[in-house]
Symmetry: C2
């Protein structure tokens, strides 16, 4: 199977799909898509005008969580979903926690203010949003720490899509040095573990013009 | 199996869960939850301070889509998910379309402005938002019509969670007369079909103090 992903490097939704594909060893061609310019070609691929859009087996697919569940169903090894309904529920709850709540309270307030606004020429960061995001991430890191004090991985004893969703958001924020890894040792250890996986390599190699990553970003012993 | 659902009557996310439970003939006790008052008891049930929260087999569950997938897995009959990975993808894509895009562009701009703001004592509707929502719903109804001209149900040949997600949003908006059913015959026929199911009865009986529903709301031949 080969695939083509229309994406932007720092989008956590795109990163979640990239991590899933890489973990399943599905080769993917990455095409950077300036989706906010709404090129007619891109709108034909996805009327919602968002990334990621995955071209896979001739189909155009949108919505990162629907894509990841599809990848899991057609390419179940190695599994990124547990077997029991209870554990699968917990994975989906956490994926949604990050893609909805964490995204609204943190990612959109830090990454979108600091990076997307500049790239999309929408003006300067709103300092109130940045302040709110910087405050909210602490609470979320503490929630992660609480989970990881009870479990090996976020949703239980095995690595799942929940870990990829969380790592996708945190890695994008880490690219702009917005994650305080000293806040919790268990969170730092968890991220070091996931960061050292081969599936993470392409993400650690990302470069966004005008925003050089800090030295620790791609360092596995940060 | 019995269940208890903490909900508010017009929340489309709660309605989607209610429809799933009713279709599976799982009895549920409905408890109205004024979640915006953030009672400590409720925050213990769901730290995200949102509804729905489902108490099911002794577990507290949050996030409507994760809940619906769980219900589907533990109670597969009658099925609300198709069997092939392609069709399951399409269901999840559409559920997300309604719960994310439709919600942001329409539900939050009409229902939240007109009803939630008053109930939560947050002031008057923002007329700009109401205008934007009224404009956006037309585009979404046309998208529904386009899907239904190609398919019996929204995601394919069988009724699925995608139909419930869409009907949950539209029924909440219909309660405040914000859906123009004359815009498309196929959409109206589809809604009449889903509205006449036994699973819909509890939703058609909803009453919100201060907001009497229009006569057509519960009329099956509207």
């Amino acid at each position: 199977m080969t695939a083509r992903l229309y994406h932007v490097p720092l989008s956590p939704f795109c990163r979640k799909v990239r991590l899933s594909l890489a973990e399943k060893k599905i080769e993917v061609e990455l095409v950077e898509e300036r989706y906010w310019e709404k090129a007619p070609d891109f709108l034909r691929r996805n009327p919602a005008a968002k990334v990621p859009v995955l071209k896979f087996d001739g189909r155009m697919m949108a919505e990162s969580s629907a894509i990841c569940e599809y990848i899991e169903e057609v390419s179940p090894e190695p599994p990124l979903m547990p077997r029991s309904a209870e554990n699968r529920y917990e994975v989906r709850r956490l994926v949604n926690w990050f893609d909805d709540k964490f995204h609204n309270e943190v990612t959109s307030k830090l990454l979108y203010e600091r990076v997307n606004k500049k790239v999309m020429k929408l003006g300067f960061p709103d300092s109130r949003n940045v302040k709110d995001g910087a405050k909210a991430i602490k609470y979320h890191l503490d929630y992660l720490a609480w989970l990881l004090e009870h479990r090996r991985w976020l949703a239980g004893e095995t690595m799942t899509l929940a870990d990829f969703a969380a790592a996708a958001h945190l890695s994008s924020l880490d690219y702009i040095s917005d994650v305080d890894w000293n806040r919790s040792d268990v969170v730092k250890d968890w991220y070091a573990k996931i960061k050292s996986r081969p599936a993470f390599r392409s993400i650690l190699a990302d470069q966004v013009s005008g925003f050089p990553p800090p030295a620790h970003y791609s360092n596995l012993d940060f």
